[in-house]
Symmetry: C2
Subunit: 436 residues, 2 copies
Amino acid sequence: MSTEYWEEEIETAPRSKLEELQLQRLKKTINLAANSPYYKEVFSQNNITKDSIQTLSDIRKIPFTTKVDMRAHYPFGLVAGDMRNDGVRIHSSSGTTGNPTVIVHSQHDIDSWANLVARCLYMVGIRKTDVFQNSSGYGMFTGGLGFQYGAERLGCLTIPAAAGNSKRQIKFINDFKTTALHAIPSYAIRLAEILQEEGIDPQSTTLKTLVIGAEPHTDEQRRKIEQLLGVKAYNSFGMTEMNGPGVAFECQNQDGMHFWEDCYFVEIIDPETGEQLPEGEIGELVLTTLDREMMPLIRYRTRDLTRIIPGKCSCGRTHLRIDRIQGRSDDMFIIKGVNIFPMQVEKILVQFPQLGSNYLITLETVDNQDEMVVEVELSNLSSDNYIDLERIRKNITRQLKDEILVTPKVKLVKKGSLPESEGKAVRVKDRRDNKS
Amino acid sequence: MSTEYWEEEIETAPRSKLEELQLQRLKKTINLAANSPYYKEVFSQNNITKDSIQTLSDIRKIPFTTKVDMRAHYPFGLVAGDMRNDGVRIHSSSGTTGNPTVIVHSQHDIDSWANLVARCLYMVGIRKTDVFQNSSGYGMFTGGLGFQYGAERLGCLTIPAAAGNSKRQIKFINDFKTTALHAIPSYAIRLAEILQEEGIDPQSTTLKTLVIGAEPHTDEQRRKIEQLLGVKAYNSFGMTEMNGPGVAFECQNQDGMHFWEDCYFVEIIDPETGEQLPEGEIGELVLTTLDREMMPLIRYRTRDLTRIIPGKCSCGRTHLRIDRIQGRSDDMFIIKGVNIFPMQVEKILVQFPQLGSNYLITLETVDNQDEMVVEVELSNLSSDNYIDLERIRKNITRQLKDEILVTPKVKLVKKGSLPESEGKAVRVKDRRDNKS
Ligand SMILES: [Zn+2]
Ligand SMILES: [Zn+2]
């Protein structure tokens, strides 16, 4: 494992130093934000002044900012800087309904962003001598320009292939001897398939590093990509509201994504109560920009569920690590007072080769009590032996209880007997009398 | 008209100064190029050394480089710099057949390119306070990243809208108050139509400047765009082999495109003989990069037909101006010893409102003599009066003779009687016994 750093001093800074920098930048961020119409009003309503923040935990005095707030102040209500003179780029997320969320960047913001992406790529061993191909869509989607500017900053020979046209992607890989590729996980697998179709051993290319993100995936899928293409594949976390890519990224240990705490302040909250959760517990990721000047975001509720991985990373970086995203806080349900995310259930189920991938959680009221029923389809690998099945069922039940602290009723059902889901799977049906 | 310049000293340099700079950069370029496998061989075969170039016209000692040469040395045979360490970006043209042409850039090259695009945009009055929306495709197509980097360099608030999704383009224009838009001409007209469909007066938007290029169009189309959208529309000339956009661009006089001669050496040649043509004559544009380090191109035959516009421009810029592209040299034919381009014929025909847009040139042998027949469809506006039609026919014949120095046989035919062309129109049928 490489112990080289893009910016050693900041990446390996002692926590106390890092937190000192965070506090200083948080104060500056709040001062800047106060120039935006939105935060001016929020601060005024909550009596936030520049003296309100004396320690990092004082951030809790400030209310959360949500996607709904951003849309309500579309397009520029959160812009704090002199957009007319200093704004150089707008990105927006493609809202499926209503107005998109809009982020405006200054040159400082673009430079800071490019530097963070370069830091991520360097961390996984990508160097200026690498050939970096980006199969993201470009334009407003931040995976395009975000990786483009970052890889150029690092000094890679970049190939802005953009999305689609798999045969051309493969031609570029072969002809330009691409060594590092950014792709969404499903597309990485597709490329391996096409290589095979074209009679090329997918492990024989010059590719050695893959950057995967922007799409939920399991560690099993990552391992599959690594095996298929003979590469190391690293998880990338980002979102348009936080620039795009470059927010958190795996190091070569592949054990959680380091969050760049010099540029982001991280909180994990209970999505129901808004309270801070202890390290290690799954909750909603709440983020504050610490190095964005044109449009700071404070305590932005990402709706992404994850947890902070406890302990130090052996790579030497002191910046905290988050686990892969465990789903959306919108998907959370509460049963017997416990917050549960479908991802937690799924995580257990995928470990059983006897199970298929289709499952359904049903919440019911039985004798005025909440009941949780987990139905899961058997795979082709499953036994017909009733005793075997019962043993598996009990095993699943026990493991689920360990994970979610509630004992569900587990039912193993025949393959194809649960409703097929098109697009986003509906995993939870709440049939309780009094939904909480 | 603005008399401000992005780089006054270089834009208004006396010709002698400019040519001095060109000579110095040409020598440097040839020294650099000698490091590429391709030019090393070309120079060696033609006894070109660094002493071969004493004056600018010594460039004629060096053979032309063609697209065929580039493809034959695909992908990196023309790379002169240390691509592994210093290469930061690859662009390629999407060849419809065979290998694409590939251009590799260093950081210097990207910076120089961005500066030239900024110079173009500044020339037409775009300032850092403008909101610049780019409806180009991004990725390998240079209109995307080329204008992105240039407009950011200028300090505009950029909107990397990318191609397609017209309703979203219009939403951006309205919501972000876009003042400058880059679009291909047909798409600019399409946007005006969609604005109308949505009940928005196309002249009522905040748009004031359009940058149009990448697609052949007439001055009539430009005027139509200006009128429809209530903007000024400026022609842009560029090609991937010469970076992309930023090569030549109209100033606010809209009378030819200034060619940035500090970065490009321009020749206009007879496509048949390769000889230099006098100023003002239409021929093939041949270009040499003067400020590209990773992959210089020397005497590149663009296959684009144009002419140098004689005389000085009142904007104060001393860099030569070229006329809009008159077609492709591949389309040229020779009759009675004269080089003729279909565009020359078309230019005359479009001036007659009585004519439609479909025409066909047929070359025949009659009594061992070359004959040129121009058939052109009448429009709905045409008269039924034979005397009127005969007068028009004679008028067209006379004007064509003035333009091409050959007297064609002109036939006016009914609308719809010529073969409909799908895609690229076949304008010339050569039925001569001995095609020259
Ligand atoms: Zn680590
Ligand atoms: Zn001018």
